[in-house]
C-alpha cells in the first residue's frame, strides 16, 4: 500500500516511517512532489513543532492536492500538529489558516498551575465508535507531547484530560487526526495506525 508521508520540515519523520513499515505499509515521503500525493492510497501528515510550519503546505501547493485527494476519498491521518492543521487554525499562528475540515480553533492549554507542554502517557476515553479507535478500550494510554490542542466537538473520536478535556483524536469520514503520537504509543498506537491502514470506504 502506498502511504504518502508529507514532510513540511517540521521535525523528524523516522519514527512514523518505521512504524508504518513495521505494519507492512510502503511509506513514500514528499516535501513538494505533488504527484506522490496524487497517487497515494493513504496520506499521513505528521508534525511536531510550530503551527506556522504548515505554511509550507500552502506555498508548495500540497494543501490543494491534499484537498482533492480527500474529496476522492483517500484516507488522511494528521498526527500532532498534523491533526491541529485539520482545524480552522491555531492561536499559535493566527495568520496561518488550517485545512478547515473541522471548524474549531486550536489553542494553548491555559495557565492553571500545571506544566505546559503536556508531556507523557495519558489515557483515552473513546467517543462513539470511531473506526480509527476500533479495539481501543477506555483507559488505554498513549504518548503526548504538545502545548496546543483542539476542543472536544461533534467529530471527536477520543478525549483526553489535561487541564480539562480536549480532543485526543478526531474523525469524520476519511479525515482523521490524533493529537498523540501513535508511532510512540506502544501496542495501542500500533493498533490505531493499523486501523488507519485497514480503513476502507
Amino acid at each position: 500500500m502506498r502511504v504518502t508521508v508529507i514532510d513540511y520540515k517540521a521535525g523528524n519523520l523516522t519514527s512514523v516511517l518505521k512504524a508504518l513499515q513495521h505494519l507492512g505499509a510502503e511509506p513514500e515521503v514528499t516535501d513538494s512532489d505533488l504527484s506522490v500525493i496524487e497517487r497515494a492510497d493513504r496520506i499521513v501528515l505528521p508534525g511536531v513543532g510550530h503551527f506556522a510550519a504548515t505554511e509550507r503546505l500552502d506555498s508548495t501547493g500540497m494543501t490543494h492536492v491534499i484537498r482533492e485527494a480527500v474529496k476522492r476519498g483517500v484516507p488522511f491521518l494528521g498526527i500532532c500538529v498534523g491533526m491541529q492543521w485539520l482545524y480552522a487554525g491555531s492561536t499559535e499562528a493566527t495568520g496561518q489558516p488550517g485545512f478547515g475540515a473541522f471548524e474549531d480553533q486550536c489553542s494553548r492549554f491555559p495557565d492553571a498551575g500545571e506544566k505546559v507542554p503536556h508531556v507523557g502517557w495519558n489515557s483515552l476515553e473513546v467517543k462513539g465508535s470511531p473506526r480509527l479507535m476500533a479495539g481501543v478500550k477506555d483507559g488505554e494510554y498513549v504518548y503526548f507531547t504538545h502545548s496546543y490542542r483542539a476542543p472536544v466537538g461533534a467529530d471527536t473520536a477520543a478525549v483526553a484530560n489535561y487541564i480539562g478535556p480536549f480532543a485526543a483524536a478526531v474523525e469524520r469520514g476519511n479525515v482523521m487526526g490524533v493529537q498523540f503520537h501513535p508511532e510512540k504509543s506502544g501496542e495501542t498506537g500500533l493498533k490505531i495506525l493499523r486501523n488507519f491502514l485497514e480503513w476502507t470506504c
Partner: protein, 259 residues
C-alpha cells in the same frame, strides 16, 4: 490522567550495555536493542540510551546501535552522550532517536539548545544537568553546583538558574541527576528535584539514588518529578518495570500499566 513516567536507562560503551537494567534470562544481556525491547514490553514508558564512550571513533558504532535499537521500538527513545553539535544531533535523529540529550556541550554553547530545537522541535531536546548541593551557598539546593564532563569539572553555573536558561532557550525536558545521591541507593534528592521542577514549566526527570520502590513514590510526590530514571532496577529487588509500576499503583502513584 497524565501518568508519571518510568524511564529505563542503558549505558552503552562500544555498542554494548555496560551498566543499567539487565535481565538474567536474556541470551545476550549486553545487547542494547534486545534490552530496550524488553523494557518497553515490560512497561518502561521510555528508553534512554547514554553513550559513555562518546569518542570520535565511537560515533559510528553509536549510530549503528541507535539504528538497531530504534527499529522495533515504539515508545519514546532518547539518546545522549557526547553530542556536540546540531549536525551530530541530526545524525542521531536520522538513526531513529526521538529526543537527544545534551549536557556539557549545551553548557559550553547554550545556543546549541535552540539550534537543535529549531530543526527538530523543543520536545526533542532534553537538557541533562548533573548537580551537587553547595553547602557554602546561601541556598545549597537551588544554588547547587552544575558539573560537566561526567561530573569531573565545575561548570560555574547554579542548578535553578541554568535549568531556567535551558528552558528559555527551548529545552523540552530537564534530566536532573543528583551527584550527591547517585550510586547511594538512599533515595532521590527530592529537595533538589522539587526546586528545579518548581522553577520551570517543562517536565523534570529525576535521576540518581533510587534504592527502593518507595524512593520513586517519594520523588513523584515530594520531589514533584514528572518522570524518574531507573538505571539499576534489579539492584533493589524488583524484576521489571512492570513490578515496579504495580507497586507504585498500590502506593497511589498514577502510572501506566502495560497491557
Amino acid at each position: 490522567m497524565l501518568t508519571k513516567r518510568i524511564i529505563a536507562c542503558l549505558d552503552v560503551h562500544g555498542g554494548r550495555v555496560v551498566k543499567g537494567v539487565q535481565f538474567v534470562d536474556l541470551v545476550d544481556a549486553g545487547d542494547p536493542a534486545a534490552l530496550a525491547a524488553r523494557h518497553a514490553r515490560e512497561g518502561a514508558d521510555e528508553i534512554v540510551l547514554l553513550d559513555i564512550t562518546a569518542t570520535h571513533e565511537g560515533r559510528q558504532t553509536l549510530l549503528e546501535t541507535v539504528r538497531r535499537t530504534a527499529r522495533e521500538l515504539f515508545v519514546p527513545f532518547t539518546v545522549g552522550g557526547g553530542i556536540k553539535s546540531a549536525v551530530e544531533a541530526a545524525q542521531v535523529f536520522e538513526a531513529g532517536a526521538d529526543k537527544i540529550s545534551v549536557n556539557s556541550a549545551a553548557l559550553k554553547d547554550p545556543s546549541l539548545i535552540s539550534e537543535i530545537g529549531k530543526s527538530f522541535g523543543a520536545q526533542a531536546v532534553v537538557v541533562a544537568i548533573d548537580a551537587r548541593r553547595d553547602p557554602e551557598a546561601k541556598d545549597p539546593v537551588r544554588d547547587a553546583q552544575v558539573f560537566v564532563q561526567g561530573g569531573r569539572k565545575l561548570a560555574g553555573r547554579r542548578v535553578v538558574e541554568w535549568a531556567r536558561e535551558a528552558e528559555g532557550r527551548g529545552a523540552g525536558e530537564i534530566l536532573l541527576t543528583s551527584m550527591d545521591s547517585d550510586g547511594t541507593r538512599t533515595g532521590f534528592d527530592c529537595e533538589l528535584t522539587a526546586a528545579v521542577s518548581e522553577a520551570v514549566n517543562i517536565p523534570v526527570i529525576a535521576s540518581g539514588g533510587a534504592g527502593s520502590v518507595a524512593h520513586f513514590a517519594d520523588v513523584f510526590g515530594r520531589g514533584k518529578a514528572d518522570a524518574a530514571l531507573a538505571a539499576s532496577i534489579f539492584h533493589f529487588g524488583v524484576s521489571s518495570a512492570r513490578s515496579l509500576k504495580e507497586e507504585l499503583v498500590a502506593a497511589g502513584v498514577p502510572v501506566r500499566l502495560p497491557c
